[in-house]
Symmetry: C2
């Protein structure tokens, strides 16, 4: 009978309309019925990506879409620039290296955003760079990068800008076209409020020229095949039909709210969460670049982070995330993204306060919640 | 209010217990709760694959798992043998070529099975062949290949045997280990009765040695990563959580029935369908190698196949498949696989008889159904 609550940066909770769609009888994908769905979600994704470019839907998780970006844009020995400010920035390095790409790296301290000027410098010094791989919201640290600023410098070079927006898309603003993002990647289990299993990739005409010239081997993720199929309102291989039908419902919900309202809701929840953790005497991990997607907070040295997360989840049913890699045991990460709302944040904080108290950390009980409530009242 | 019925060779209808699981609230994947699910489905898949080997679950459709086999086993310039007896045999050729592999081909006439002796000859003449890529049930033609016979000849060579069992697995017998199948591929939307979105791949120790030595670039489909994660009851990237939880339900249903009973049920449905199409005066497309998964029948020249399939689906709600590629418009393919049972076959035949009659084809109405009923009564 234990009730469970999910406040993790992916997967995020699923709205009932979307769950209902997942449970519907399946339909065949090579039918006019499913073509209607493809049409609808293709248009809807353009709205959410804020782009006129094609958005391809892959049956994969977000990492598959990241790989699609790498293996479709670059050939072995090509040069790329990867921005590494966390676990998901590192992933760009790993994937480009796997494909024999000459990978330049700007290493950014965990908890900081990259300075677009640094990117500009590297691009000027290395005119061979064909693609810049960036992360919008770095889920491992809670940092949001200045994609608008990065877009402004990358567009002055010959390189294309690739943005991993897996955890940011549909939660915080990303004007793909206005900010000159050539390729934007996302996944289904974050701002889009679906189970994981869909990857998305939008591709600008400039980037698509690179796809056509690219010499890396690929088949399942070949965007030429995806484009040829999408032009006929089809997919090259059996798509994840059920998830795509549910995506149509999720997009409808997002269109009803409107992107601007969605971003405002995320900002309010983030402000409230940040106020709460500060009121509890915890330190924001990314004070200068905190995203409105997930809040990372440093734990006092006296608190074992893994035990805190485990107790919240396994004793009380509230799942938040801990730190990853070097920050394992030292961080908590509370998501305020997707189908999460004001009172979910309050209940999550209530559980956090309870377990912190039980673990011997001293603060006036209710002080985190009060700080959050004050933000929500504004 | 039109009621819809699905008799296609993937996706197949979804049992209510599985639909219910798809609609459940999502859980996080890096939790003991999800580890329990991974444990359960890993064991369950071994039962269904009839193997002691690891079965890796990919967030992809079946083609992704096929690509995983190619890009993990072979390096550029390696030699492989592909058996091409239909659209999915061709896919092995396309994928191996995409990866720069020297691809030998045994071309088999559509509607026929490959003769294992042909494979033996080619293997003896080309000792460099490192892998033989085969198709268990060729969905495009309804043919079942003699994997047991093929396994017996491949094991005498140094090559590994790779079997695309996407549409056969869990519907017809495939003794992976006893028949010396090193790598077996499948997908979720066929015998396993799930929506599409999961790929499966089992790998023998002999094949896994090739994975370790393989020089092809890959990241998302890298089976070394999959193995390292599975050894810790984990997945390398965010898995398709919802589908995997539903898979646990589907496997439970299959274990309750038992593989032997499942295979018998498929055989009975196939016998009935074959008897029916013959009674209707149609010709089996693969009389000598008809699978118990999907029945392909040739239409009389007077009947436009695409119109027949379209009318059955769009006017009456019964979806069967037509012919593909060279057989477009000339075949119907009626699936009897997964969560399809006796009376579904009867209703499908009833719709087929109705539309054939409306299109001017002459036969005693009810004769196909009667032939099927007689088989089911036996």
């Amino acid at each position: 009978m234990r009730k469970n609550y999910l406040l993790t940066p992916g997967p995020t909770p699923i709205p009932p309309q979307v769950s209902e769609a997942l449970a519907r009888p399946i339909i065949h994908h090579r039918t006019p019925q499913f073509q209607e769905v493809i049409k609808e979600v293709s248009e809807g994704l353009k709205y959410i990506f804020q782009t006129k470019n094609d958005v391809f839907i892959l049956a994969s998780s977000g990492t598959g879409a990241m790989e699609a970006a790498v293996c479709n844009l670059l050939s072995p020995q090509d040069t790329a620039l990867c921005i590494d400010g966390g676990k998901f920035g590192e992933r760009w390095i790993e994937i480009t290296k796997a494909y024999g790409i000459n990978c330049q790296v700007i290493k950014v301290e965990w908890g900081k955003a990259v300075d677009p000027i640094e990117i500009e410098k590297v691009l000027k010094a290395n005119p061979k760079i064909k693609a810049v791989f960036t992360t919008h919201c770095e889920t491992s640290t809670g940092v949001v990068n200045d994609i608008q600023g990065i877009g402004a410098v990358v567009k002055e070079s010959s390189a294309v800008l690739v943005v991993d927006a897996i955890s940011g898309l549909g939660a915080i603003d990303l004007k793909s076209d206005d900010w000159f993002c050539d390729v934007v990647i996302s996944g289904s289990q974050k701002g889009l409020m679906l189970p994981p299993g869909l990857g998305f990739i939008s591709v600008s005409p400039k980037a698509f020229k690179m796809v056509e010239d690219c010499k890396n081997p690929r088949y399942y993720f070949d965007l030429k095949k995806a484009k040829k199929a999408l032009d006929k309102t089809d997919t090259p291989f059996t798509p994840a039909i059920g998830l795509i039908i549910a995506l149509a419902e999720a997009i409808k919900l997002m269109q009803q709210d409107g992107l601007e309202n969605i971003f405002q809701r995320h900002k309010k929840m983030a402000d409230a969460t940040r106020a709460a953790v500060k009121a509890l005497g915890l330190e924001l991990f990314a004070p200068d670049a905190a995203s409105d997607v997930v809040t990372a907070a440093k734990l006092p040295a006296s608190i074992e982070g893994e035990k805190l997360v485990k107790t919240m989840r396994d004793t009380y049913g509230v799942t938040i995330a801990g730190g990853q890699d070097a920050m394992k045991g030292k961080l908590i990460r509370i998501a305020h993204m997707g189908y999460i709302a004001e009172f979910d944040i309050i209940l999550g904080l209530s559980c956090l306060e309870k377990v912190l108290t039980q673990m011997g950390y001293k603060f006036p009980i209710g002080s985190g919640i009060k700080a959050a409530q004050e933000v929500f009242l504004k």
